[in-house]
Amino acid sequence: MSRAPQTMFEKVWNQHQVTAETADTPAVLYIDLHLIHEVTSPQAFSVLRERGLPVRRLDRTLGTMDHSTPTRTEQVFGGAPITVDSAARQVRELETNCAAFGVELFGLRSAQRGVVHIIGPDLGITQPGKTVVCGDSHTSTHGAVGALAFGIGTTEVGHVLATQCLLQRKPRTFAINVSGQLRPGVTAKDLILGIIGKIGVSGGTGHVIEYRGETIQSLDMDGRLTVCNMSIEAGARAGMIAPDETTYAYLSGRPRAPQGTDWDRALERWRALPSDPGAVFDKSVDIDGSALEPMITYGTHPGMVVPITGAIPVKQGDAAFAKSLAYMGFEAGAPIKDQMVNVVFVGSCTNGRLSDLRSAASILRGHKIAKGVQMLVVPGSQQVKKQAEAEGLDKVFIEAGAEWRESGCSMCLGMNGDLVGKGQYSVSTSNRNFEGRQGVGARTLLASPLTAAACAVRGRITDPRELMNG
């Protein structure tokens, strides 16, 4: 074979070009899977109505509700209404739209409902080599199985509903090579926070990242999903990880993964996906995974991150930095450890999977959370909730004094009633520490589930290794 070596991204891109890009027009890119939710779809359905268009491929479209849904059991399953009126309207509108257009929807009380980026991989509908889009920037999560997955706006949601295609210019490629073994207490979350700290919050702009190297290969699927999830926090269009035996073992037997001879054929295709030896990336960076410590953010974007043993940096004459520290109520040069904690949130599309809950529970078992700390544990999906309960994790959380909720985006973003108060410090396993993200005036510190649980126990920023057994 004489063709030039290709990256995995190029292979997936080329396989999905309906028409190639020219100087005058972008490529028409075919979309294999379109996930929709209540926040970014209503205006897209309105466009279909205005133009009298159907949803073109119902078999490639799946709806869930997660962003504006409540997480209190009595609100989801009891008679208690959704307290935010506009959120209730939005949920009803998604139900109406999906019913009218025939789109499959996991409704509020469905056992299959969950955060859109948790349920895709969980169902096995997110697969290697697929193009996956959703009106949500954390769609990059699905790249962990070797899919090309990226977030789109509502206009583009309309394009995909109507045509199953998008107009796209080909992004550039970015290899992030990670070597070395992660130390005990250092998780996939710490790794991606470390990467963002190194390349910056716009380091990936215009690029699709491929995470490569032994450290990435040694991550389990949940860890890989966490890494790819935060690609957008580095500004990247998407993040991808080559499928391997870990991926196939994960997907095998999932409800919407191929079965029988279809599985064998799929496996053959998937094995050809990884980047060819000698494939050229537009840029690359090397990361030493063995040098990482548990990481935690101290500022108002995910690139403002330090090892938990470190101190808040000192940057003279940087107005944006000073403003950020003022918002956080932190002093430059102070250690991050032992800073106050009011709220702890374990959940989200970043860290709401079963292994994340196990990880938090491993710290909490036999402990109580500190007096005055509120801790929310929110499973990423109803399936994750059921699995966690089957293992008794819910009891660990409840006995420790945490609240165990129904699935949803919850405290990751302040639009569903789960809020952090003004001026409060929240250690959160989510993905964004922007000003006001978790509520007006809320101060967010992003960390792993291990670190979050350790902070809950002590009521102070705590190195999880101090509470780890063995």
Partner: protein, 192 residues
């Protein structure tokens, strides 16, 4: 979408870097099901006191900023979420263009599809604009240039197809629907 060929306006400046979409339009305003009316909540936390009173010192609230259609912002404007509510809020408020040294990908895409011009300029031009709020500038799509008050013209990148759609008020859905034969041919090729 209204065709847009040139835009002349005074600028309003927000020098902060990494202005994310949660600042442009906080999540609690996303429970809407239409595109309208988001302008009043644009930059809500920066623009208003908790009581709802406008903060006098915030750039958009100053008398000289009224009617400005061009926003100059620090590097990496529009980072964060894919919410198209961000360009909808800016447009509803009356902003028609954003100038920065770097504009986040999804925000840029969303802006182009709504007639909000993303103008990426070099460091020097950006610094000059940040230091001169209220500058009277012209953005021209035919030549893809930004003209500064002294007459100096700065080229900015704009993808050819987006430029064509903006200048002619064409929405991309019409173009995609015109590709239906090719889309069907693709499907019959990959889904035998």
């Amino acid at each position: 979408m209204e065709p847009i060929k040139t835009l002349r306006s005074r600028t309003v400046v927000l020098p902060a870097t990494n202005i994310d979409t949660d600042q442009i339009i906080p999540a609690r305003f996303l429970t809407t099901t239409t595109r309208d009316g988001l302008g009043k909540n644009l930059f809500s936390e920066w623009r208003y006191e908790a009581s709802g009173t406008p903060r006098g010192e915030f750039a958009l609230n100053r008398p000289e900023a009224q009617g400005c259609q061009i926003l100059v912002a620090g590097r990496n404007f529009g980072c964060g979420s894919s919410r198209e509510h961000a360009p909808w809020a800016l447009l509803d408020y009356g902003i028609r263009a954003v100038i920065s040294t770097e504009i986040a990908d999804i925000f840029r895409n969303n802006s182009l599809k709504n007639g909000l011009l993303p103008v990426v300029v070099d460091e020097n031009t950006s610094r000059w604009l940040i230091e001169h709020p209220g500058a009277d500038v012209t953005i021209d799509l035919e030549s893809t240039t930004l003209t500064l008050p002294g007459g100096e013209r700065v080229q900015f990148p704009l993808e050819a197809f987006s430029r064509y759609c903006l200048m002619n008020g064409i929405d991309e859905l019409g173009f995609l629907l015109g590709k239906m034969d090719e889309i069907k041919a693709y499907e019959s090729r990959v889904e035998p």
